[in-house]
Symmetry: C2
Subunit: 271 residues, 2 copies
């Protein structure tokens, strides 16, 4: 595996890194084609917003130049960029004047079954709920134990993803995807102001849908409402769009809105 | 700084470590005197409970033997033991048959002002709230961004600690301590079934108080109730007990119950 730390080839970080100690950092998972990162601006914008909200100092131009150089070496695949608050001494207080550590890991794109995109996926209904924490909601930060617990709930490969609800029961997202539903021609995705990860592909789907004249709502979704949706699909920045064809005892056909957006997203990902 | 990884002197971990990627792990901060860890059984018991709840496999005898060997090399100071779920490939699913990585870091005890224990401390009232997540409540896991944000709120050294409440406003704990209040001769500490870290020293104080015939309650605490307490104190496994003498506009003297428990805890810590 290709890995760089702070711009140089390296496979390790000090045990004093605050990313390890506290999950004090952010990450991005970026598709790379022909040496170029896809949806680069959206990834950098989310990273920048995350840094601002966590109060992490970093040279943004440096992050971008290292990422671009790394991608050109990688060629095709996926890059995981981790940004931590660097080394800590002791205690939670962020070090004064500290600089973020940049970690880049490159590998092949995950080998998801083609059928996931073509025929759709079954969604596992996770018991693990997302806590409501507005201070961290939307961020792709390194505190991901909820996702680890949720993903531990099933081993059956018949389920490609798991549905996560918040502690109040609202529908939020997949374990590693965002979720959309369509109802009477309108597209709906969850409001992420209390919890959830505001995915780069979610933002792209919202933009694409609006540009295509599709009505879009970002709001709370009750579980019962999801079960009555006309269409459901998942998205993330690696696989694009997966139709959902089964959840609990309910089945769905792959709908026209899902297919339309899937095709538009494919163009963006260049696949 | 003295550091071991998986039983051998080392200062780095692979960038693929799941502790770094997801905060997928646990930690303990242990006082060491004359080469021996204090409150060892309580630390090991909490670690074991955490491993069970997170589903992390590890050889417990190995952890203990490495910890004891490390402490005997360190002599006096503090040991931070981090246990992560080891290396991940990609994705949240825990690797099948994976073994936990053991990281030991040793250093001097923090140089807290003596006045903190003797005259008491002022408590900063943090705006950052603790999310309610029963699946993780009580654990000393590596997802600590809430504490990082809370500790970032103040730089004034006049505040030795910060008070954290949950999203519903209940009093829970300090940023790196647990909290007790006394009211009409009874000792009360927060119920930690929704959030918070069930500190080893909290458990010790509860046991000591009960053995001393002091009435103890573990239950929800409203903020208004805290402000009307007769005494408040903080505790953790490094500094023992700190009386709280100021919070918002309210002042407290150092009370008799606080002094009594502080003395009993000092005996346990061997200081």
């Amino acid at each position: 595996m290709l890995t760089w730390v702070d711009g140089l080839p390296a496979g390790d970080v000090p045990v004093t890194d605050r990313g390890l100690a506290y999950g004090d950092g952010l990450f991005e998972t970026i598709a790379v084609r022909a040496g170029r990162p896809r949806l680069l601006e959206r990834h950098l914008r989310r990273l920048s917003e995350g840094r601002t909200r966590l109060g992490m100092a970093c040279d943004e131009a440096l992050i971008e130049s290292e990422l671009l150089a790394f991608c050109s070496v990688l060629g095709d695949g996926v890059v995981k960029l981790i940004l931590t608050r660097g080394d800590g001494l002791r205690g939670y207080a962020p070090p004064v004047g500290g600089q973020a550590r940049r970690i880049l890991q490159g590998g092949a794109l995950p080998a998801y079954p083609l059928a996931n995109a073509e025929r759709g996926v079954s969604l596992y209904s996770c018991r693990t709920r997302l806590a409501e924490q507005p201070a961290l909601a939307g961020l792709k930060h390194l505190n991901r134990l909820e996702q680890v617990l949720a993903r531990s709930e099933w081993q059956d490969p018949a389920f490609a993803e798991g549905l996560m609800r918040d502690v109040s029961g609202r529908v939020i997202e997949g374990v590693f995807s965002n979720l959309f539903m369509a109802r009477l021609g309108r597209l709906v995705t969850a409001d992420l102001s209390r919890c959830g990860v505001a995915g780069v592909m979610r933002a792209e789907v919202l933009a694409i849908a609006q540009a295509a004249g599709i009505s879009v709502e970002v709001r709370d979704i009750a579980y019962e409402e999801l079960l009555q949706a006309d269409e459901i699909f998942l998205c993330n920045s690696l696989y694009g769009v997966w139709p959902v064809i089964r959840l609990e005892e309910r089945d769905w056909p792959v709908g026209p809105l899902t297919r339309k957006l899937q095709a538009l997203v494919c163009d963006v990902l260049g696949s």
